[in-house]
């Protein structure tokens, strides 16, 4: 136990990367992935070894920078939440065709049950789509070990590797034992300087190369330490379990003796022979995976005849939401355990804007300006200010994806819906709002864009925001008229003035930008505490 560290899954991944000779980590903050990059940022060793660790503007720029570092022969990691992989999908899919040079690991943190997300998409489908190997840890120790393994794999086959985790792995602490550290790679370019040139003629060759590698990836999966087959005397059922679901399975057998054959999956593509062995030996299969029923869907193509597959499709496991020990107990036909009833008086306590939050003053002013108009004209975005959808503000009418506020407001304005308002945070604006604003400027769309500038990425815990101090310059450079870029201070004492400015810009039939600027109250608190520590 002496060498055991108590780490979050996220921290285990970060430490694993540092110990495996990481040269740079690239990321945009997103729950539950944020703590990976933060761990590197706070690491003394990382600082001493000059490991790159500042935040990227978005997941796409992060993915591309990591690919560039890999091109230069060094080990790079890029981290994001699952929906971030949508943003990074273009470089991610194409990185499978270019391949890697220095080891490259893409970490995507899924959020089944949507604790802090707008969907529960399963990143393993992206891995399969891109045809890259996927690693999926069942413990914090495996998360640590898989980073070493993943970098080796990536360098052996010159391929990016996807490391897929879920919220419970990311944000659960457990003991981790380190292995010996290794040095960073020295800089070295790819042997073939056209490897990364995806002109059609080259891309066709590279794509065939990727397809040819697939057989090797399967063979690696067959022999992977993360894919294990354990036999059991009762062949009436075979269990195929992946990632963290293994822990919930084991929980149901306190002596750890499972009577059924169990194939545990931690590496994809699926180990075909092991899967076939399980199918051959057992009368039916139970598939346990946290996320979408991906293995279940794949397996149905393997199974000859009418062998029964149980999982999320047949209702053995609920179709949505994360797994837990009780869900598995029911699936296994074991007695379910129950606690005490929650009294009827219980009410929800949803998250809300903090007392003193600048967004409150911005929403109060906006609501007053819009009070005379029919409701439903505020397009918003992803961040703390999304909480403005809830009572008592009920100030916004959309939250779809990073940056969509400006472009949706523009589309609605194009349809004749005027005034049309976009509300976006400063960090979300630099993440994915800038290009949308350029579209609006080019079309002279009558939209009022409110950039709530609290000088931080607040929702994820206060990370640096890429455009702090330069938002007006960015808007000006995009072509927003200077007289329609209005900076206001969201404070109660300026309420009337702020209402007037908003009214003036709503009346303007072109692109206007209002920047309510006041530092996040939590960020101030944090800053002061550090100052007087």
């Amino acid at each position: 136990m002496a060498n055991k560290l108590l780490l979050l899954g996220d921290e285990a991944i970060a430490l694993g990367a540092l110990d495996a000779g990481l040269s740079g980590i690239y990321a945009y903050p997103g729950t539950p992935s944020t703590e990976i990059t933060e761990y590197v940022q706070h690491s003394k060793t990382a600082k001493e070894n000059k490991v790159h660790c500042s935040w990227s503007s978005n997941e796409k720029t992060a993915m591309e920078a990591a690919l560039g570092m890999s091109y230069a022969g060094k080990r790079a990691m890029v981290c994001m939440k699952h929906v971030g992989l949508n943003v990074a999908a273009d470089p991610f899919i194409n990185s499978a065709i270019t391949g890697a040079n220095g080891g490259l690991i893409v970490v995507s943190a899924d959020d089944p049950s949507m604790h802090s997300s707008q969907n529960e998409q399963d990143s393993r489908f992206y891995g399969k789509f891109a045809m890259v190997p996927i690693l999926e840890p069942s413990s914090q120790q495996e998360a640590y070990d898989m980073v070493h393994y993943g970098f080796n794999f990536s360098e052996k086959y010159k391929i990016p590797v996807l490391l897929r985790i879920t919220t419970r792995m990311a944000h659960s602490r457990s003991g981790v034992v380190r292995v010996e550290c290794r040095e960073q790679n020295t800089m070295h370019l790819p042997d073939d300087l056209r490897q990364f040139v995806l002109l059609p003629a080259i891309a066709r060759k590279r794509y065939k190369n990727l397809l040819a590698s697939h057989q090797h990836f399967i063979e690696e999966s067959e022999n992977s330490p993360f894919n294990t087959y354990s036999d059991g005397p009762d062949k009436s059922m075979g269990i195929l379990v992946s990632g963290i679901a293994l822990n919930y399975l084991m929980e149901n057998f306190p002596d750890r003796n499972i009577p059924y054959p169990v194939l545990k999956i931690g590496q994809y593509p699926l180990p075909r022979k092991l899967v076939e062995k399980l199918i051959d030996e057992c009368s039916e299969l139970l598939i346990l995976e946290d996320g979408y029923p991906m293995i279940e869907e794949l397996i149905s193509g393997y199974v000859p005849g009418l062998k029964k597959i149980r999982g999320r499709f047949d209702g053995t496991i609920p179709r949505t939401g994360e797994l837990n020990p009780n869900v598995l107990a029911v699936a296994l036909g074991l007695p379910d355990t129950k606690g005490l009833p929650v009294p009827d008086l219980m009410v929800g306590r949803p998250p809300q804007l903090c007392a003193g939050c600048p967004h409150i003053d911005s929403y109060k002013a906006l609501n007053e300006v819009l009070a005379v108009l029919p409701k439903g004209r505020v397009f918003s975005d992803i961040g703390c200010y999304t909480l403005g959808a809830l009572a008592p503000y009920e100030a916004i009418n959309s939250c779809v994806d990073m940056g969509a506020s400006i472009t949706m407001a523009k589309g609605a304005a194009d349809a004749g819906f005027v005034p049309s308002v976009a509300v976006i945070g400063d960090s979300t604006f630099t993440h994915s709002g800038i290009t949308g604003l350029l579209d609006a400027v080019n079309d002279k769309s009558p939209v009022t864009v409110i950039i709530l500038d609290n000088a931080t990425t607040a929702m994820t815990g206060g990370q640096d925001s890429a455009g702090t101090g330069r938002l007006e310059d960015i808007c000006k450079a995009l072509g927003v008229e200077e007289s329609h870029i209005r900076v206001i201070k969201p404070l109660k004492k300026y309420h009337d003035e702020n209402v007037r400015v908003m009214q003036e810009e709503l009346d303007y039939m072109g692109v206007s930008v209002i920047i309510p600027r006041r530092e996040c109250i939590v960020a101030i608190d944090k800053r002061m505490r550090q100052k007087f520590k």
Partner: protein, 194 residues
């Protein structure tokens, strides 16, 4: 020895600190530990909970199964009731603060909340905020609650004192002293009311 603990509260009330102190004490005893935390959106004044499991044997699940928690430790009365489905109906204890954190328009009648708590066969309900002030540190209500929960955690009281000295080691002797006092006041309340 194995203890499954649900920690409950409102974002910002310091349940992660309680977990850190228990965790340190358990690790000093060479126990295994798993702790699932809440990060992200819920931290903004919403309900938060953490699963903390300590055991001399290896722990499988990061989440505690329903009906199997030995203890619910809550820094807020309404929140103490939210996770009752996790509490063991036969042996589970509930330790909670009675000072409400009222940041919602529909907070239930406090008397009814307290009645629901008092109906439980095994519970300790104390005014941790007042005791924390008595200890000289209004911010230490969470440590008072930890003190009140300490008889049910299967670890010697001194282990928590050591853990507090470690957890607050960078904050200076005064802060450590106030937190040790907060721990003691909580423990004394529990000893009198078990």
């Amino acid at each position: 020895m194995k203890k499954d603990i649900i920690l409950a509260g409102v974002g910002g009330q310091g349940i992660i600190s309680i977990a850190a102190v228990i965790g340190y004490a358990a690790l000093q005893e060479k126990m295994f530990l798993k702790q699932s935390e809440v990060h992200g959106m819920s931290q903004r004044g919403g309900d938060v909970m953490s699963n903390l499991r300590i055991s001399h044997k290896e722990i499988a699940s990061d989440l505690i199964p329903f009906g199997q928690a030995d203890l619910i430790i809550s820094v807020e009365p309404l929140e103490s009731l939210r996770y009752l489905e996790y509490l063991s109906p036969e042996t589970g204890w509930l330790v909670t603060n009675i000072t409400p954190f009222n940041n919602i328009p529909n907070y239930p009648d406090l008397e009814k909340v307290m009645a629901a708590i008092n109906k439980l066969p095994r519970h300790i309900a104390l005014d941790a905020d007042t005791l924390a002030k008595e200890a000289g540190s209004a911010r230490s209500a969470n440590i008072v609650i930890l003190g009140a929960a300490s008889p049910f955690l299967g670890l010697a009281y001194e282990k928590f004192e050591d853990a507090i000295r470690f957890t607050f080691r960078t904050k200076g002797e005064t802060v450590i002293g106030k937190n040790l006092e907060a721990l003691k006041l909580g423990r004394e309340f529990a000893d009198k009311n078990i």
